[in-house]
Amino acid sequence: MNDEINIQELPTEEILELMQEDLYDGLADEIVAEVKELLKRGLAPYEILSDGLIAGMDAVGDDFRDGILFVPEVLMAAKAMKAGMEVLRPLLAETGVEKTGTVVLGTVKGDIHDIGKNLVGMMLEGAGFEVVDLGTNTSADDFLAAIKEHNAHILGMSALLTTTMTYMRVVIEALKEAGLRERVTVLVGGAPLNDAFAEDIEADAYCRDAAIAVETAKKYMQIRKAE
């Protein structure tokens, strides 16, 4: 955000547009100031989320997918998104806004790599999903417990290593044994994976990057709603 811009003097529409630009540029402090200003003006938290933050992250996701933005820029945008969400999240909970869906997310057991997984989480949150992030080194038991506890629609698993990606199969088998497989969409991602691996372990889809993960999660939620 330009230092000369005084957001208090801007019309609400322009602040929402500015939010999208500042999110794209990864300016967390500016995003927080704009969210607070819009709340002060009486905008509903959901409007700020959808017309400011989500609209901004959509542009980031599109340009990431198209190779215009790269991981560092997307991480900065996601950090700005997170800062805005920290202000909005309690207010959204109070107003009971309907979520796009609930996603349980984690890097599988034996693997501590989480950059891609964190990006997916933040971009899913930006798309209106409730995200339960279990972190790294996550066991099948922990995935199953979180799916049950949060009544999740989607399970997202990540792995960076060829030695750990095989654990995704263990989790999917555990889902089957627990009778949960049919009700949970399983999305997988990570550097060594591909479509063939996802098909082999009977995941629903392989997601090449965070933008595609969000698109895929939205698509599966639409399918669910249509059923």
Binding site: G26, F70, V71, P72, E73, L75, M76, K79, G110, D111, I112, H113, D114, I115, N118, T136, N137, L161, T162, T163, T164, A191, P192, L193, N194, A196, F197, R208
Partner: protein, 214 residues
């Protein structure tokens, strides 16, 4: 018969040393190491070199791991059955051999360095991660790591010092393991000790040691 080695830039210097050491009749054709940051570029860049060179060399060997190409490199090479790739998923495993799995088992939060990474950490690596522009992202990238393991190829005090500086920047303990060229040397040597047809036959008979899928 001169062999063309299509080599990952991160292995170029070491492969060049091996050629000199063993007196192999080989020439190196490099693929930029920066492709690791954009792994979808690896297979197309390797293919461009194959197309440009396959009439020039009787034999081409691809000295690359999968390196996050998500199997695309092996899918490409399946279309060129006369071209071989050395075994291995990435250079850490090529240098450390079986110790790589043991090290990861011991501590999943291990950040590996090689001579190439020590040489290029301040430039290529930090820039490709955006840490020159956004130093605040350091925690995003490195917060889960617990130690640095430096696999040395040409063990030397200046490289060791650089490794210490990298470990200090990351705030992690450093372990130094002299590996030399490790399995990289053996896996290239096998291509010079074997004719392409014999190697292909051995691979067909031993699916565990295939250099690329059927």
């Amino acid at each position: 018969m001169t062999t063309g080695l299509i080599v990952c830039g991160a292995l170029g210097r070491e492969v060049s040393q091996l050629i000199q050491l063993h007196g192999w009749d080989a020439e190196i054709i490099g693929v930029p190491a920066i492709d690791h940051v954009f792994p979808e570029r690896i297979a197309p860049h390797v293919e461009a070199r194959i197309r440009a060179l396959q009439d020039e060399y009787e034999r081409l060997v691809v000295v690359f791991g999968d390196c996050g190409s998500r199997g695309a490199l092996d899918e490409l090479l399946a279309r060129y059955p006369e071209i071989e790739r050395i075994e291995g998923p990435h250079c850490y495993e090529m240098y450390a051999g079986d110790d790589f799995a043991a090290l990861m088992e011991e501590e999943p939060g291990t950040f590996f360095l090689t001579d190439f990474m020590v040489r290029t950490f301040q430039g290529l690596i930090l820039k490709s991660m955006g840490l020159d522009r956004y130093p605040e992202l350091k925690d995003e990238y490195f917060r889960n790591y617990k130690r640095v393991v430096y696999l040395t190829q040409n063990d030397s005090p200046p490289y060791r010092q650089k490794a210490r500086e990298i470990a200090a920047y990351l705030g992690l303990p450093l372990e130094i393991r002299p590996t030399g060229w490790g399995e990289l040397e053996n896996r290239i040597r096998i291509h010079f000790n074997t004719t392409p047809s014999a190697l292909q036959g051995a691979q067909d008979a031993d699916p565990v040691n295939k250099t690329h899928p059927e």
